[in-house]
């Protein structure tokens, strides 16, 4: 992965009091430093994002311009484009499948959570590194292995997995049912197994680090919301990914060892299979027991990043800090008991459907609280439109707009008509896909100075935001219309039915908007890679932010802080505090130094400062 080498910022003035100087391999490849691992995740995630979004552009061309000649793609896709320039229907399904898999798991799980949990947890809680640097390294390299397998599957003769990203058996279990269920599916399953291992190694590390390695004074009620969101995300992943692993393993057994977990009463290709007694619905239960929390695994880090960025750039404390934590905990809890709303029309007991409808719609309540709290944070702020801030505001808009249509889909009676139509596709792309991607962008723009010691160009960032934001709405609002008209998803073309014989122009419009949004991402790519090497040097605290990462050197070396880790005396949201000289008071400033702005109960806390300073049990460097 040459891009990893490309991350050599040439300015990592490593702080090497405690270690032998490292060679290139130790420093950038098999590195145990959380900052490098974060960058590895980020770069890998960006590469995957380019691949995943390119795929969506190809199938959008197929859907929006069905008559177009795709011969120009022959150099890339080869035999998947027919002599007459048409996309192969099997490969269309493979594209849809791989787009989903790549974006959900490799970009928005690994790329988002992997990058920012790794980068921010030690920096924001005041730790030298992750609890286990070695596990952290393993976590990335398992992800890398998963990536290699998934990437390799793209080049198989029979194509990659093609049963939809949810890989429902029996389609995915029977190679004779579809070419994509052959070697492509084998690689998909192997890749996901390694991916899950990677997620678990990472997740255990995140949780342990947050619980054990917080610096002096960093109590849970002083943690920035980013850390809360990463912690909750890691817990979600730790509980749900093993269930996916088990469903994957059972599927592997069905495919290769003749078991019948998911197979029963099947007659295919002139042959009645011997399998009886299994249930395809069992797989769906297991899959969605991960699959639904996965939505929040993807979204919560974005919400955490947004909380931090919005507060910083509104120059206001986040409104309802405790309510924000409570709503994240509520969402996380509910995330585990709503999975069957993906299965209202699978023949599941209707009574179960009612229960899951009820539980699903409850999620709207904590989500609404989050939305309103963000808005109130903006209210009477002094808003600076950094690119990170713009993407955070955009996230809130997308989260609310996309979340609202979820209330329709969570209603089982309405889901009968809308299930597996483009309404669903539009809904989850807004609320989970685009919103999380906006969280990723917000995070990259906001923490780029800390990652690379340089600034990204803000004007290009702002242009990138507006093009992307408008582009996303131009794609997905019309897609709701197509869904309301009843267009089923995963259709190669809409020519077979009278009821889909309309909206030709709308589908074309969506495709044009998709291509436009795709092209807009190159502004970001250019800005990102150019700024790594040539960006303006970053000041110590470019956004005038309160959190601890901005107390490190511009480019923190190994161990993050030179000398002692700072102690923490206050929460991270003391922005525009009445009476204070500046409009921000970093977390490491004791109340005894800010007498002019303290509230009465904060003056009482001055007495505890000595005690906080005396602690030092969490600094790994001090223990030797």
């Amino acid at each position: 992965m040459s891009a990893v080498e490309g991350m050599d910022t040439a300015h990592v003035d490593a702080h090497e009091h405690h270690h032998e100087s490292q060679n290139f391999w130790q420093k950038y490849i098999f590195c145990e430093d959380h900052k490098i691992i974060a960058k590895q995740y980020l770069i890998t995630g960006i590469i995957w994002a380019v691949i995943g979004i390119s795929m969506s552009v190809i199938f959008r061309i197929q859907l929006g311009m069905p008559d177009s000649n795709l011969s120009w793609l022959k150099p890339v896709l080869g035999g998947w484009i027919s002599e007459t320039g048409k996309l192969d229907p099997n490969f269309y399904l493979a594209l849809v499948t791989m787009h989903g898999t790549i974006m959900v798991f490799f970009v928005l799980t690994a790329g988002l959570s992997g990058t920012f949990s790794n980068f921010l947890i030690p920096l924001q809680i005041g730790a030298r590194d992750m609890a286990s640097g070695f596990m952290n390294m393993l976590s990335y390299w398992f992800f890398f292995l998963a990536s290699v397998l998934m990437f390799a599957s793209l080049f198989l003769q029979t194509g990659p997995a093609a049963g939809g990203w949810v890989i429902y058996p029996p389609l995915s279990a029977l190679p004779q049912a579809h070419p994509g269920s052959g070697a492509g599916m084998t690689l998909w399953l192997a890749s996901m197994a390694f991916f899950i291992v990677s997620q678990l190694l990472g997740g255990i590390n995140y949780i342990t680090t947050v619980i054990n390695l917080r610096t002096r004074g960093m109590s849970f009620d002083r943690l920035p919301l980013t850390i809360w969101s990463f912690l909750i995300t890691a817990v979600l992943g730790l509980i749900s990914f093993p269930v996916l692993l088990s469903s994957v393993l059972l599927l592997i057994m069905d495919r290769h060892f003749g078991t019948s977990f998911y197979l029963s009463d099947i007659y295919i290709n002139g042959e009645a299979l011997p399998n009886v007694g299994g249930s395809p619905i069992l797989f769906q239960h297991l899959f969605w027991f991960l699959g639904h929390p996965e939505v929040y695994i993807v979204l919560l880090p974005g919400l955490g990043i947004t909380s931090e960025v919005i507060a910083t750039n509104s120059r206001k404390p986040i409104f309802g800090y405790r309510a924000m934590i409570a709503s994240m905990l509520g969402i996380a809890f509910l995330a585990f008991i709503v999975w069957a709303h993906h299965m209202f029309v699978t023949g599941m007991n209707p009574f179960l459907g009612s229960v899951f409808m009820f539980l699903t719609l409850i999620i709207a309540v904590p989500s609404a609280v989050k939305g309103f709290n963000y808005i109130t944070t903006l209210w009477k702020g002094n808003i600076v439109f950094t690119p990170g801030m713009l993407f955070s505001i955009g996230l809130v808009s997308l989260f609310v707009s996309g979340g609202l249509t979820g209330i329709i889909l969570g209603n089982s009676a309405l889901d009968i008509q809308l299930h597996d139509t483009y309404f669903v596709v539009a809904h989850f792309h807004l609320v989970m896909g685009a919103a999380s991607a906006f969280g990723l962008f917000a995070g990259v723009y906001h923490w780029f100075p800390k990652m690379f010691g340089r600034m990204m160009n803000p004007t290009l960032g702002q242009i990138h935001f507006w093009f992307t934001f408008i582009g996303i709405y131009l794609i997905f609002i019309p897609m709701h219309y197509v869904g309301i008209a009843g267009f089923p998803r995963r259709y190669y073309q809409f020519t077979s039915y009278d009821f889909t014989h309309k909206f030709m122009d709308m589908n074309m419009f969506i495709s044009v908007a998709a291509i436009f949004s795709f092209l807009a991402q190159f502004i970001f790519l250019w800005n990102f890679f150019y700024s790594i090497f040539k960006g303006k040097r970053a000041p110590l605290n470019p956004w005038r932010s309160n959190t601890l990462e901005w107390t490190t050197p511009v480019v923190p070396g190994h161990g993050n802080w030179e000398g002692e880790i700072p102690a923490v005396y206050r929460w991270s949201y003391d922005y525009s505090k009445p009476g204070a000289k500046e409009d921000f008071i970093p977390q490491n400033i004791p109340y005894s130094q800010t007498l002019e702005s303290n509230f009465p109960h904060e003056n009482e806390l001055i007495a505890t400062e000595k005690e906080i300073e005396a602690q030092n049990f969490n600094d790994q460097f001090n223990s030797h």
Partner: protein
């Protein structure tokens, strides 16, 4: 549609212009020393863009909605379908309020409270009353939506009425096969997937006397108007899903786990042709669960007849045994006479001992090649 594209193009032209002018400012400002109090880069423009996008976005959404409305939710032709449609638009109506209000507030606040020099944001960390209000209001609205949805859902998924017309629909890669109970007993015979072969596509078990008059059809499904129809849904190979858009019917077809859905169609095909003023109108059944290469074209037509023409159509259909008389061999000896009743006289029933043996073989589960 071209209007939308033109509109969008206009937005982008404006944006591009703004961007270029901004870029020039930036180039100029590069030389200036940046002080702590300097206006953050591009703040005014971005603040203004929030209002511009809010206004243009509102216009675009309203306009596109009106434009696309004619194709929304194709005319419902079932009793429960109109109910869920009403529920859908009712929910959409309610949800449009928070959609509009929240987005307005986000965009408006972004513009209104943009950075001003010497201005200080107000320190406003919480307000329990406010938070309680916006926890309770969504909760109440949700309770309302859940209740209406739950009522509709439990009615739709309740047990089918006894007099429902039972029709079996089986999905396979890549078409549907419908099977009727037949005009004599109107009961579907048993099936077994191990009995499936090239002719017996749904595995009819001919040792069950109810199957003798069953008839099947791979191209068309007929149902009576104004009477409950119970679909018994099966799949032969992989998952499929029965989707009848005009009936608001959708239910997965699962191998090894029969599912069902009942509904009352209340407009015949002819009614709909007249109503939509489209003599070519056809009801269609589609597949909405990915099932392989032919997923997008797994279609069977649905015809809704008035009672008389439905009866007539049913009586005109050839039973399975009439179509494939050689399957008489699978009928147990003691039922042969009954099975042969409907068959044309000319058909020679191969009623010898070898047939009996093979019939026994079938009941033991072996399939016919």
């Amino acid at each position: 549609m071209y209007y939308i594209i033109a509109l969008v193009a206009l937005v982008f032209v404006v944006l591009t212009g703004v961007v270029i002018s901004r870029l020039q400012d930036v180039i100029k400002s590069v030389k200036k020393e940046e002080s702590e109090d300097a206006e953050p880069s591009g703040n005014k423009v971005n603040g203004a863009l929030f209002i511009i996008v809010l206004v243009l976005g509102t216009i675009a959404i309203v306009w596109s909605y009106l434009h696309a409305r004619e194709f929304f939710l194709p005319e419902a032709s079932s009793v429960h379908g109109r109910r869920t449609d009403d529920l859908f638009w009712f929910s959409m109506g309610i949800l449009t309020i928070p959609f509009a209000v929240v987005n307005f507030l986000i965009f408006f606040f972004a513009w209104k409270y943009q950075y001003k020099k010497d201005h200080r944001a107000s320190f406003y960390p919480d307000n329990h009353k406010l938070e309680l209000i916006w926890t309770i209001i969504p909760a109440i609205v949700m309770a309302l939506l859940v209740f209406t949805g739950w009522k509709a859902w439990s009615d739709i998924t309740s047990e089918a009425p006894r007099d429902a017309e039972v029709i079996e629909i089986t999905g396979k890669q890549f078409n549907w096969i419908v099977r009727y109970g037949g005009v004599n007993d109107n009961k579907l015979g048993n099936y077994n997937y191990k009995l499936i072969d090239a002719q017996n596509e749904v595995g009819i078990d001919l040792s069950d006397e109810n199957s003798f008059d069953d008839f099947q059809n791979p191209t068309e499904m007929h149902i009576p108007v104004g009477r409950p129809v119970l679909l018994k849904i099966r799949a032969r190979d992989v998952l499929h899903s029965v989707f009848i858009p005009h009936m608001r019917v959708k239910m997965d077809a699962v191998p090894g786990m029969p599912t069902k859905f009942w509904f009352v169609a209340d407009k015949t095909t002819a009614d709909m042709q007249a109503e939509l003023n489209d003599p070519n109108f056809k009801y269609e059944i589609a597949c909405t669960e990915i099932c392989g290469q032919g997923h997008f074209s797994m279609k069977i037509n649905l015809v809704v007849d008035d009672e008389a023409s439905y009866k007539k159509w049913c009586s005109e259909q050839q039973t399975f045994l009439q179509t494939y008389p050689e399957y008489l061999a699978k009928v147990p000896d003691n039922l042969k006479a009954k099975a042969m009743k409907g068959l044309p006289e000319t058909t020679e029933a191969p009623a010898d001992s070898s047939a009996t043996a093979s019939a026994a073989g079938v009941s033991a589960g072996s399939s016919i090649r």
